[in-house]
């Protein structure tokens, strides 16, 4: 299968890869370097501003416990939303991959992808309308009980979780679906014929084999949710201060770009640390399945 590459092949491979590397340089490396540069300045380097290199912006993180508190709050939010997405997304993916066939599957797929086609801001504002007092949800709850129902969900941490789960659930469903579909049905039949009950099949066969997809989905959810700022701001009310909103404040309201950039890099470092700590655990889980 793996034949050694000839000189012509190497040239062709380089040619084919060039656009991708150019794109990565322009879209990832350059902005990140600019932000890293900003994070080391004493002042945004605009006309007339007097700036020098400093580590003060990184020290600011440790100077008060405000940023650490908010970072911990954001990490908990990330874990909660990821856990809910996995718990809700896995059964959905299973039904899609193994139970439903044909037209019905296409229709369901469309329904899952549909939120992706609408603007995320529109999605969040729709939730604000649904969750607010006298909103659609209160009205619906009022149909099933007597009296004036005030769930009062808008402007609570629950509202933030609902908005984020809705936004990011499709990632988990799609990645898990791909992993589940790759599982050969005959494997499951074989296990059953050997006397494995449903729980054993799930624990020893389905879960380990779908773990790569599930893990990929979880990472795709966890990383952006930890840095999210729009959903907390619109749905969280007075509970809406998170690490992401503080970073946004530095760029939009306070105009302390260097501090905002430093906080972003601290977030990036923490997220990378968490992911690299989780990687061996996931690999071992996969290894155990093989």
């Amino acid at each position: 299968m793996a034949q050694p590459l000839g000189p012509g092949d190497a040239r062709r491979a380089a040619l084919l890869l060039t656009p991708a590397y150019l794109w990565l340089t322009a879209a990832v490396f350059l902005p990140l370097s600019a932000m890293l540069f900003f994070s080391l300045l004493s002042d945004a380097p605009f006309r007339g501003a007097d700036w020098r290199f400093t580590l003060d912006n990184y020290r600011a993180f440790f100077a008060t416990d405000v940023y650490a508190t908010l970072l911990w709050k954001s990490l908990r939010l990330g874990l909660t939303v990821t856990a809910l997405c996995v718990v809700i997304g896995f059964p959905c993916a299973w039904v899609l991959a193994k139970t439903i066939r044909g037209r019905a599957r296409e229709a369901l797929f469309l329904l899952i992808i549909l939120p992706f086609w609408s603007n995320s801001l529109v999605r969040v504002f729709s939730w604000a309308i649904v969750l607010r007092g006298n909103g659609a949800l209160d009205w619906l709850a009022g149909l099933f009980s007597s009296g004036d129902v005030r769930l009062g969900l808008l402007f609570t941490p629950t509202a933030v979780v609902i908005g984020l789960v809705h936004s990011y659930l499709p990632y988990v469903i799609l990645t898990t679906y791909l992993a589940l579909q790759a599982i050969d049905d005959t494997l499951i039949e074989a296990a059953r014929s050997m006397g494995a009950d449903r729980r054993t099949i799930f624990r020893r066969l389905v879960l380990p084999l779908s773990l790569p997809g599930l893990a990929a989905g979880a990472v795709l959810v966890f990383v952006p949710v930890v840095g999210s700022f729009m959903e907390p701001r619109i749905l969280g009310g007075r509970f809406g201060a998170y690490f992401g909103t503080v970073i946004e404040d530095q760029f939009v309201a306070v105009f302390n770009w260097p501090l905002g950039a430093a906080l972003s890099f601290i977030l990036l470092a923490v997220v990378l640390a968490i992911l690299s700590a989780a990687a061996p655990v996931l690999r071992r889980a996969q290894g155990a399945a093989a």
Binding site: F46, R47, G48, T64, V66, R132, R238, G240, A241, V252
Partner: protein
């Protein structure tokens, strides 16, 4: 009618041509969106009278305004600056003195505004006083039998979860300073302010950030009482919202907005003409019908209908005596307020 129409059109075209032949300038104005200078009818009338076309750029915070002035030299001819920020803009060399001899309406500006030390310095005028108003709070009239007289209503447990304040460190701190009976420009007991704000948090439903936010929340019945600006309250009322602006016994925060000319403005002549147009009583009277802050021009204030809020309430010396005008805030104080505000929000 039909016979006269072409002639009128020809005259108008001639007037525009004459105007544009004399100047043919386009001026760029930097301001909050929807804040007076960009009213369609005013800009159209100005273009017809002078031939200058007005183009706008907007900011969402004073810091953004200063950054835009720093990073885009030569891009703006007129900039709207809150008087508390004018000294900073002057010290950074971002704005140039205004030649008041070119502004006919300047003579009518109320002396306490024209001589405001934030705008008049070194014998020059660095910003022409344009509008002023109050930051206090407004109530949803449906939630109250009679308007409250004290700012303590924000802390009233009867309105738990029905209160809002703006997500702004300076404004929050100054509101709490009023409630604790302190001078908003020299807060002696910042710990009392923080404790007062911490006590307010359980009552707060959400923070608002723009006038549009505020109107939507009020219309949805989310708030009973929320901090607000007097000019914006007038606009919300004009839109039909059941709101009433309150100047409590503890006083209110007063602010003054001025129009300045950037040091790098390309069309200084047209900029002066536009500022003169903006402080003209005729402009203000029409703006006031749609909901406006009070004019710094005494002649404009006197020309308003007697029942107009800007004349009936803000023209009342008893009310004005309770107002504490915002003084410039230095960077260290601003940073201390911001840290306090972030601490309070993070603790939620």
């Amino acid at each position: 009618m039909t016979a006269r129409a072409p002639r009128t059109a020809a005259l108008a075209a001639a007037a525009i041509l004459a105007g544009s032949a004399a100047h043919a300038d386009q001026i760029r104005v930097l301001n909050w969106q929807g804040y007076g200078t960009d009213l369609d009818w005013a800009v159209a009338a100005f273009a017809e009278a002078t031939g200058h076309r007005v183009v706008h750029d907007y900011f969402n915070s004073e810091q953004e305004m200063l950054t835009k002035l720093r990073t885009n030299p030569g891009a703006y001819d007129v900039v709207m600056i809150n008087a508390a920020f004018t000294p900073q803009a002057r010290e950074e060399g971002l704005i140039a003195p205004v030649d008041v001899s070119r502004i006919a309406n300047f003579a009518d500006i109320a002396p306490e505004f024209a001589g405001n030390p934030a705008l008049a310095a070194d014998g020059e005028i660095w910003g022409v006083p344009w509008t002023w108003g109050l930051t206090s709070f407004a109530i949803n009239t449906a939630a109250f039998d009679a308007p409250p007289e004290s700012i303590r209503v924000l802390w009233d447990p009867a309105h738990e979860g029905r209160v809002s304040i703006r997500d702004d460190a300076l404004e929050a701190v100054q509101i709490a300073a009023l409630a604790t009976g302190q001078d908003i420009n020299a807060i002696a007991d910042l710990a009392a302010v923080e404790a007062k704000l911490a006590a307010l948090m359980p009552n707060v439903r959400a923070f608002w950030s723009s006038e549009n936010d505020w109107n939507q929340f009020m219309a949805a019945g989310e708030f009973d009482v929320a901090t607000y600006w007097s000019g914006s309250a007038a606009r919300s009322q004009a839109m039909g919202l059941p709101v009433e602006f309150v100047v409590p016994e503890e006083g209110a925060i007063g602010w003054l907005d001025g129009l300045s000319i950037p040091a790098t403005a390309p069309n200084v002549e047209a900029a002066h003409a536009f500022i003169d147009w903006m402080i003209d009583p005729d402009f203000h009277i029409r703006w006031d019908e749609e909901g406006a802050p009070a004019s710094a021009n005494a002649a404009a204030a006197e020309a308003l209908p007697e029942d107009a809020f800007n004349r009936a309430v803000l023209g009342d010396p008893e009310v004005v005596a309770r107002v504490q005008f915002q003084a410039p805030v230095d960077d260290a104080t601003r940073a201390a307020y911001l840290a306090l505000w972030q601490r309070l929000k993070a603790a939620q």
